[in-house]
Each structure stands twice: as C-alpha cells, then as structure tokens.
C-alpha cells in the first residue's frame, strides 16, 4: 500500500486563483450587501458610516459585482471550453449516484451502513454547494443588474420587475451566505476530518489518505486499479481519519 501521506494534485493553479478571487469578491459583496439588507442594525450602520456613507457602499458593491460577474463568466467559459474540447470530464454534473450516495450517507450516520458513501472527484455535498452558488451567482448577477439599471430595464419590462429583483437579490444573497457560513465553513474548517483547515484549495494538493476516504473512486482511477481492490475488504477506518485530519 502506498504511503497515506503522499500528496496528490487535486487543484490546478487556475482553480486556486479562482478560489482566491471568489474569497475576495464574496467577502466584499457580503460585507457591502448584508449591511444594506440589515441597514437597521447598529453594526450595519456603523459599517456604512465607516465606509463613508451608503453611496460608497453601493459603489463598491456594484463594481465588486462586476468583478464577480467576470469570475463567473470566466469560470463557465473555461468549464464549457474544457468539457467541449473533451479534455475534461464533466465531473461536477449531478448524477443518479449522488442521490444514492446522499441516502447512503444518511443511513451511515444513523448506523444503518457500515461505511460512508464512496464518491468520485466531487461528492454530492460539494456538488450541492457548487451548484447552489453557481446558480445563485447567476441570479445575483441578473437581479443586481436590474437594480443597478432600473431605468433601462423598465424600458422593456414592467416596473414590478424592480421590487421583484430586490426581493430575489436580497433573499438569494442570504441563502448563499448561509450555505457559505454554515456548510462551506464547517466542511473546510470545523469538520473533524479537516480541522483546523482544509488546505487543498490553497496548496493544490491532498493527501492520499483523504483521497482514499473521500474520493476513493477517483483515487482508484488515478492509480489504475479497481475500486474494490483499492479499498480492500472494508471501508477506510475512522481511526485513520482522525490520524489524518488537517493534512488537506
């Protein structure tokens, strides 16, 4: 058996850069957006005043929204180009296996299965997060543009679209924020499997042990062996997990 500490390349430099850009735009957009949604809260007002007023906040929010739009378009462009040129497998698409894996994991949590679901390059939780944020990102871009340019929009669409866009923008932002704050932060920081930080998106590498535990089907493909052979008789032990936590 190969050494569990062996590092396996998981993310390219482009993906690492993309993640940094998303961190930057998310932090700025959430800070300047949530203070507008919760304007009546004292801390929100403190932040707005520290930013030099609501006009500055809106300006920063809108231009960071433009940057976010660029990121999303770049991401989708690269993804479509990559998949279309058959260089990449469409590993992020949701399949029937994801549904099976999610049910399997719930059963595993309740002790009805003796091992966690065995996933490929991206597990169903990562896919859920990715798609909610990608689709949410599109909704935010479209509704944000409507709110930025209401005069232009109402030349072709009814006026009601403006308050509708506001409700959508505000709620979708909250939804994405909650997914990030609860789910993503837990999975990449507080989860016992990765605590204190899952560094793979920053370094680009992941340990073979974590690959074995979280993405065994991908590991088997990388190493050119059958998953059953790779996994042996049983699933990766919990003891292994604890020993390996935090290596990313």
């Amino acid at each position: 058996m190969k050494d569990g500490k062996t590092k396996i390349r998981r993310f390219s430099t482009f993906r690492i850069a993309e993640h940094w850009m998303i961190i930057l735009s998310s932090v700025v957009l959430f800070a300047t957006g949530l203070c507008q949604r919760f304007w009546h809260v004292d801390s929100a007002q403190w932040f707005i005043l520290k930013m030099g007023g609501i006009d500055n906040v809106r300006l920063v929010h809108r231009y960071m929204g433009l940057f976010f739009t660029f990121e999303i378009l770049l991401h989708v462009g690269v993804a479509v180009g990559g998949v279309a040129s058959r260089k990449w497998e469409s590993s992020m698409f949701i399949t029937r296996e994801d549904l099976v894996a999610s049910i399997h994991n719930i059963r595993y949590y309740f002790g009805l299965e003796n091992h966690a679901a065995r996933c490929d390059r991206y597990d169903y939780m990562e896919k859920f997060e990715y798609w909610t944020i990608l689709i949410g990102g599109f909704l935010m871009i479209v509704s944000g543009a409507v709110l930025w340019l209401p005069t232009m929009v109402t030349r072709i669409l009814p006026g009601e679209i403006i308050p509708a866009a506001k409700v959508l923008h505000s709620n979708e932002a909250l939804l994405i924020f909650l997914i990030n704050a609860i789910w993503h932060i837990y999975n990449s920081i507080f989860s016992p499997d990765v605590f204190p930080l899952d560094t793979s998106i920053f370094t680009g590498y992941i340990s073979r042990d974590r690959m074995m535990r979280e993405h065994p089907l991908e590991l088997a493909r990388i190493e050119g062996v059958e998953p059953n052979v790779l996994l042996g008789d049983g699933p990766p032990g919990v003891e292994e997990k604890a020993a390996d936590s935090g290596t990313g």
């Binding site: 007002q45 707005i48 005043l49 002790g111 209401p150 009601e160 308050p163 409700v167 919990v238």
Partner: protein, 482 residues
C-alpha cells in the same frame, strides 16, 4: 409727600362720600349758570364758524350739575360773557375755537398741576414743540368729572381704562398713528383677564407713564411682543429658533411676532376644538394667503372647513406653532415621513377612514426610505451633504394633498412619473410601477414579488436546518466511531 397727602385726602373723601355722584345732585348752581342754562340747556342750539363748521352750544344740565366745575359760574371760563353781556364771537374754524377754549383751562390749571399726571407728559412736550394740545379732547368741557369720575378706582386696569377707553392715538416718527384705545374685556374668554396692564406694559403704572417714541407702528408691535417672554419664556425661546425670527433678524420687519398671531388685549384661550383650529389656519392665512387657498381645497383643508373634522392637520401640526422651521431645508425634508406618520401611522387617527397605518413602514423599509434614513445619519455624523430623496410630499403634494381614494389613478400615475423623472432621467411610464404604492405584496397585489418572497421564506429555513442537521449527524457519527 405731596402725592401721599393727595392719596390720603382722596381716600378720606371717598370714605366720607361713598355716593359722591348722588350727593352732587343737590349742588346749587349759581344764578348766572341757571340763567345761561335757560338757553344753553335746550337741545338744538349751535354756533356756526366762518368755514361752515359748527359746534353744539348745548350744555347738558344734569351732567353739568355732576361735573367738577358745577361750582363755578359760566363766566369763570367764558370770561367775556355775563348775564348782561353776550358778545358776538367770530372764529375761522372749529380748530381755532378749540385751541382758544383750552387756553381758558390753563387759567386755573397751572403747568405744574398738569405735569403732576404722567399721562400729560407727552402733551406738554408736544406743546413745547409748538403743538397745541386741546384739553377737551379728553376732558369734556361741561361734564368734566374728578379723575376718578366720582367713583373709587378698584384696580390698575380700571385706572388705565379711564383714559384708554377713549379714542386716542400715538403718532410715530414716520407719521404712523397707533390707536391707544383698548377694547378690553373682562370676560372669561380673555386668557389674560387676571393680568394687570403693567404686567405687560412694564414701566407703566398709576404713577409712571413714560413717554415712548417709536419709529413706526411696526416697530411698536415688535417691541410690544417682547413683553410676552416674561411669562411665556418657553414659547419665546422656541420662537428664537423659528424661520420667522430668522427673517426678522435679517431685517424683514413683516415677519410675524407674538402679537400678530395672538393679538394683544383680546387674547382668547387656546382651543383644540374645530373653532380654534380653523382660527389658527386663518392666523397663518394673514401672510400665507396663497398657501391657505391651496390647503383649503386639499383633502385635509376641505375636511376641516366643510366637515369640521379635527383629525386633519392644520398648519401648526406640520410646521409647529413657535419653532417653525424653514420647510425648504434638507433637515425638514428628511423629517417629512415622520411628520406625516404622526397621523398616518396612528391607528387612532386614520383607521376610521379606512386608511392603512402601514404606509409609513412601507416607505421607510423601501429603497427611498432606507436611503433617506442613512443619509440623515451620514449628515449628522459625517457632516456629509446628502441629496434630497423623494418623501411623502414629493408624490402626494404638500398643501394640495388630494384623497388617494377619489383621485383618478391615471392622473396619480402621471404625477408620479413626473416626480420620478426629476431624479431618474429618461424613465418611461413603466418605471413608477417599481414603487408598490405602499401595498404589501400578496397573491392579488404584486403576486410575482409575493411568490418570490414566500418561496425564500420557506426555502431558507428548511435549507439552513437541513445543513445544520447534516453537520450534527456528521459530528455524531464521528464521535460514535471514535
């Protein structure tokens, strides 16, 4: 000392002759006087001057008997006349005659005696300047009574009213005449009926009557209003912050002062009833006639004047009564939603008219309302100039507010578009529909917004709880496996 002696003598006299007026009935007139009254005691007798003016030569015998001069015979004043001699006189006009008659009074009443009454000070000064004060302007020639008119003066007010119920004027330096005649009422309707004259006219009393010299009638009014602060200091300090005081201090003397709105001697009690409220609007109307005309036609004004409705706002409800702010400032503009909200967010006021109390909240939580609130904070804390944001009056009007129920919707929309275009250039008729007209989205009103909002209200908590449950189960499984 001399004065005290006079007062004591007067009191003794008053005590000794409680019904002095009646005692006078028994006065025996001189034979000469009786003889004169045989002709002059008949009505209709008159004397004609060269300029065709005439003066009545009739003397009321009853009044003459009561007068302080009844003890004198006629010839003491009419020196050229006697029972045997009745010369023919020839005066150019009445004025000449009156001046001449006054000179007769001065034969007995010396300047020192006249000067002893402070009320005469002004007249004596005028006389030194060449004018000819006429005694009979105030003291009737044949019915002149003692100062108290034979009665005991019970109060300072009565004392002052002795003269000030007469028609007399004061002349300002610019020639303006100020009437000093006071139509004073002791009725309970007068808020100041318990006050003495000198409470307001400080410096004046039965002993003191200083001479005042004003440039104009307006100067006098403004100076008089200063008296009010002695009692109404809270209101006075408020007026110092008012736009009226600002323009007054900038030199516009037409700016209203206390007296202009409250009057001077007949000050009614404050009335919160419909009568008082109507009266208040009319006070403002004195200067703001155009605004009044517009207000009277508005939904508020017509309800006040036609229906005697006391729920509708009058001028002072929005502009306040004393610390009236310049309504064109940004600070005032920012406060308008709260001003309107005083009634429109108060169920006790508007619910009975079928109006929603949610209108204020709907505005304050919408884009404009939020921006307005933040701009105010910025201005206060960052001293940052803010842009004016559309408030209630921008869409509904100010003094010309019409009923939103009875207004033509097309008209309302057209007005709204005009207002939107002031800030949002090049907008078309779709744009005003972005404002939900204070309505809360529902399936019947703005269903798209209602559906989007409801969907998120359901989805966000479910998703949040689902994710938390996943996390909990994951940690639990980890702990169990361990």
């Amino acid at each position: 000392m001399k004065r005290w002696f006079a007062v004591i003598a007067f009191l003794l006299l008053a005590a000794g002759f409680p019904a002095a007026g009646h005692a006078k009935d028994d006065v025996d007139l001189s034979i000469e006087s009786i003889k004169c009254l045989q002709c002059h005691g008949k009505k209709g007798i008159a004397y004609k001057f060269q300029n065709e003016e005439s003066v009545e030569a009739y003397v009321n015998p009853a009044k003459y008997r009561l007068s302080v001069h009844s003890v004198l015979s006629c010839s003491r004043c009419h020196t050229d006349f006697s029972t045997d001699h009745h010369p023919s006189r020839n005066f150019r006009n009445k004025a000449q005659y009156r001046v001449r008659s006054s000179a007769v009074c001065r034969g007995c009443h010396t300047p020192d005696q006249i000067k002893s009454k402070s009320v005469h000070a002004d007249l004596l000064t005028k006389e030194r300047e060449g004018a000819s004060p006429v005694c009979t302007d105030c003291h009737d020639a044949h019915s002149v009574t003692p100062v108290a008119g034979g009665r005991i003066i019970r109060s300072e007010t009565e004392y002052c009213m002795k003269c000030h119920r007469q028609k007399m004027t004061m002349t300002c330096r610019n020639g303006d005449k100020i009437s000093l005649n006071v139509s004073y009422s002791f009725s309970e309707g007068n808020a100041h009926d318990k006050l003495r004259c000198s409470d307001c006219h400080y410096g004046f009393s039965s002993d003191e009557h200083p001479k005042r010299n004003f440039r104009s009638r307006r100067d006098y009014t403004i100076a008089s209003s200063e008296s009010c602060r002695r009692c109404h200091f809270d209101k006075y300090t408020k007026t110092l912050d008012s736009v009226h005081n600002t323009i007054l201090s900038q030199g516009n003397l037409n700016a209203p002062v206390c007296n202009d709105c409250h009057g001077s001697h007949q000050i009614p009690h404050m009335s919160r009833g419909v009568k008082g409220r109507v009266l208040t609007t009319h006070k403002c109307r004195k200067c703001h006639e155009e605004v009044f005309a517009v207000y009277a036609k508005s939904v508020h004004g017509s309800a006040l004047f036609n229906e005697q409705n006391t729920d509708v706002p009058i001028c002072i409800d929005c502009h306040t009564a004393h610390d009236i702010e310049n309504p064109l400032t940004l600070e005032y503009h920012e406060r308008i939603p709260q001003i309107c909200g005083n009634c429109h967010a108060n169920p006790a006021v508007v619910s009975k008219y079928g109006l929603s109390t949610e209108v204020l909240n709907a505005y304050l939580t919408d884009f404009h309302g939020v921006t307005l609130g933040l701009y105010r904070k910025q201005r206060e804390q960052l001293y940052k100039p803010a842009r004016p944001i559309a408030v209630c009056t921008d869409c509904h009007g100010t003094h010309n507010i019409m009923s939103s129920v009875s207004s033509d919707p097309a008209n309302v929309k057209a007005n709204l578009l005009k207002r939107c275009q002031k800030c949002h250039k090049d907008t078309n008729e779709n744009f005003p529909n972005a404002w939900l007209s204070h309505y809360k989205p529902s399936l019947s009103k703005f269903p798209l917004i209602f559906i989007v909002s409801t969907a998120y209200k359901i989805f966000i908590p479910i998703m949040g709880l689902g994710l938390l449950l996943q996390i909990f189960l994951h940690i639990w499984r980890y702990a169990v496996n361990r």
